[in-house]
């Protein structure tokens, strides 16, 4: 792209968002990393940093790896970590299995229908996340909607345990993050040229084979973007395991929250955050590429 005189004047403005993000997005992570090496203490704020400026010109370095040792030593943290991976991975897969047919159906709908159908997918996302998760309590609890219907229909003798277990957590994860899967899938499927499928059919491909050989490979960028948009936030989810989870469904986001708000142990909470970031760094880098490509092509 050739440089245009129309823009040159505006470029000092570039510094504004850049500086903002450096201060409010990047710098905080460095502070979290520093405090994860600090020591919990009684006071305000409730920690001593790893660098102590105690009068002398050279700060005393007091690196404390104890927080990380705690994460590795206590099975609670490891279990929460593995649980988060399993729940987020399962939710990603289920969102893909549910979202792909939906995105496909919307992309193949008559042109005038597509935008309203897409709007219907986005609409729940605009209403409160917290309230949508809360809605499932009323549906799943022992005297809730589903169990009342099952009992009234004589299908079960006593209420099914649907709430505060792995089932309710996974269900709410899929429910909450499904739109994030459908949108990027729709974007790639909608752009797909129907002539390619017609060519495959004309050449004697059966529908399933045409789908596997043409549609599926061409929609891989959308699949990648959708999976990352679901997986990454799902790993760190707090509200869902807190409201719909039970003792067996501890997730890393809830552990972080409890360390911070209940134990008031800021250094351990920071170490949990860093451990989560280490896990997510590769997916986030991939997401950035997938989203960047989508944004440029849109």
């Amino acid at each position: 792209m050739k440089p245009r005189r129309g823009n040159s004047a505006a470029w000092p403005a570039l510094a504004l968002p850049y500086f903002w993000l450096l201060v409010f997005f990047l710098a905080p992570f460095l502070i979290v990393a520093a405090i994860s090496l600090g020591q919990s203490a009684i006071g305000i704020p409730p920690y001593t940093p790893p660098l102590v400026f105690a009068g002398g010109p050279v700060p005393a370095l007091a690196v404390n790896l104890g927080n990380y040792a705690l994460l590795l030593g206590d099975s609670l943290y490891i279990r929460a970590y593995l649980n988060s991976l399993a729940f987020a991975g399962g939710a990603t897969l289920l969102c893909l299995l549910l979202g792909y047919p939906m995105a496909y159906a919307i992309a193949r709908a008559p042109r005038a229908w597509r935008n309203p159908l897409l709007m219907l997918v986005i609409l729940p996302f605009w209403t409160s996340f917290l309230i949508r998760v809360y809605a499932w309590i009323g549906i799943l609890k022992p005297n809730g909607l589903i169990n009342n219907l099952l009992l009234a229909g004589g299908l079960v003798d006593q209420p099914l345990p649907l709430l505060n277990n792995a089932f309710s957590v996974e269900l709410a994860l899929v429910y909450s993050y499904l739109p994030f899967m459908i949108l990027p899938l729709y974007a790639t499927l909608e752009r797909l040229d129907p002539a390619l499928l017609e060519a495959a059919t004309d050449l004697g491909c059966r529908p399933l084979r045409a789908f596997l050989a043409v549609t599926l490979p061409l929609s891989l960028p959308g699949i990648a973007a959708g999976c990352l948009l679901v997986f990454i936030p799902a790993v760190g989810e707090f509200v869902i395991p807190d409201l719909l989870g039970g003792p067996d469904t501890l997730m890393i986001g809830k552990v972080l929250w409890d360390e911070f708000f209940i134990n008031r142990d800021w250094p351990v909470a920071s170490a949990v955050a860093i451990a989560m970031l280490v896990l997510l760094v590769a997916p986030i880098a991939l997401a950035q590429r997938a989203l960047g490509r989508g944004g440029e092509a849109a």
Partner: protein
């Protein structure tokens, strides 16, 4: 080709939308239930709406949340629009990779991490600079503006990628100054995207529990915090009534926004 598969696709859509909307519909239905036991139907009543409106804690928190969301969304709109222009039109500059990373990572970053890291930043800043003094509305607005701007930036970038630049060139050739072109040609043409971005940032702020809980102070309880503590104690009919009001307002706003977008795009260039 599609005729044979149309019933199957329709069934898929019907099931999918049933899954997406059944919980919301159940909230709305039970908000008109006379019984305190949310899921046992005991006749139609608007009692919970009355109690909700009389609930001072919820009223105050809602007012505070709206105020925070308006400020955060406006700040996010300004920052995110500039960032979107940079992403779409500045292909090469030192540190572009870092900039792209910083504008896309907040979209997916787990909220507990963002919340904790911003809190620690505010504490460190107060320690070093004496600002911000304590935490409250100000720190929540700063935090919400930061993740809101990432969403605005993506929307503006996508819109600019589909933008017909010959209009800007025509204005420049006719002697308009670059700043004038920006305000008279470019920004009015992308106004629907700017509105969408502002609304999205507004909604995200209004909806946020986790980040606000980390960076709020004792005197700044937002609406999601009140909802959360009430929901933690079990289902409450007042929250159902609140949810219904939420859904109605959001639906109306989204319908107006999409109608405006449709109307503007008709006769202008292609939609983003």
């Amino acid at each position: 080709m599609t005729a044979r598969r149309a019933p199957l696709l329709l069934a898929v859509l019907a099931l999918g939308y049933l899954f997406l909307y059944a919980p919301i519909v159940s909230l709305i239905v039970y908000s008109f239930n006379a019984s305190r036991l949310v899921t046992v139907w005991a006749g139609f009543s608007t009692r919970w709406y009355g109690e909700l409106l009389g609930n001072e804690a919820i009223r105050d928190a809602a007012a505070l949340s709206l105020e925070i969301a308006a400020m955060a969304a406006t700040l996010a709109l300004v920052l995110g629009t500039v960032a979107g222009f940079v992403l779409a039109r500045r292909r090469r500059f030192a540190g572009r990779t870092l900039f792209v990373f910083m504008t896309t990572a907040p979209l997916v970053m787990p909220e507990v991490i963002t919340g904790l890291s911003l809190l620690l930043l505010f504490v460190a800043l107060e320690d070093i600079l004496g600002w911000p003094a304590g935490r409250g509305i100000e720190t929540i607005v700063l935090a919400h503006a930061t993740f809101g701007m990432a969403f605005v930036a993506i929307i503006v970038q996508a819109r600019l990628a589909a933008f017909d630049r010959s209009l800007e060139e025509a204005a420049l050739d006719l002697g308009a100054r670059p700043w004038k072109v920006l305000f008279v040609v470019t920004l009015p043409l992308i106004a629907p995207s700017l509105l969408t971005g502002w609304l999205l940032a507004f909604t995200l702020s209004l909806d946020d529990l986790v980040i606000a809980s980390f960076v709020s102070g004792p005197a700044s309880t937002t609406l999601p915090m009140v909802i959360f503590s009430s929901v933690r104690l079990g289902v409450s009919p007042q929250i159902n009534a609140l949810a219904t009001i939420f859904v109605v307002i959001v639906s109306v706003l989204v319908l107006i926004a999409s109608w405006l977008t449709l109307r503007r795009n008709r006769g202008h260039d292609a939609p983003a």
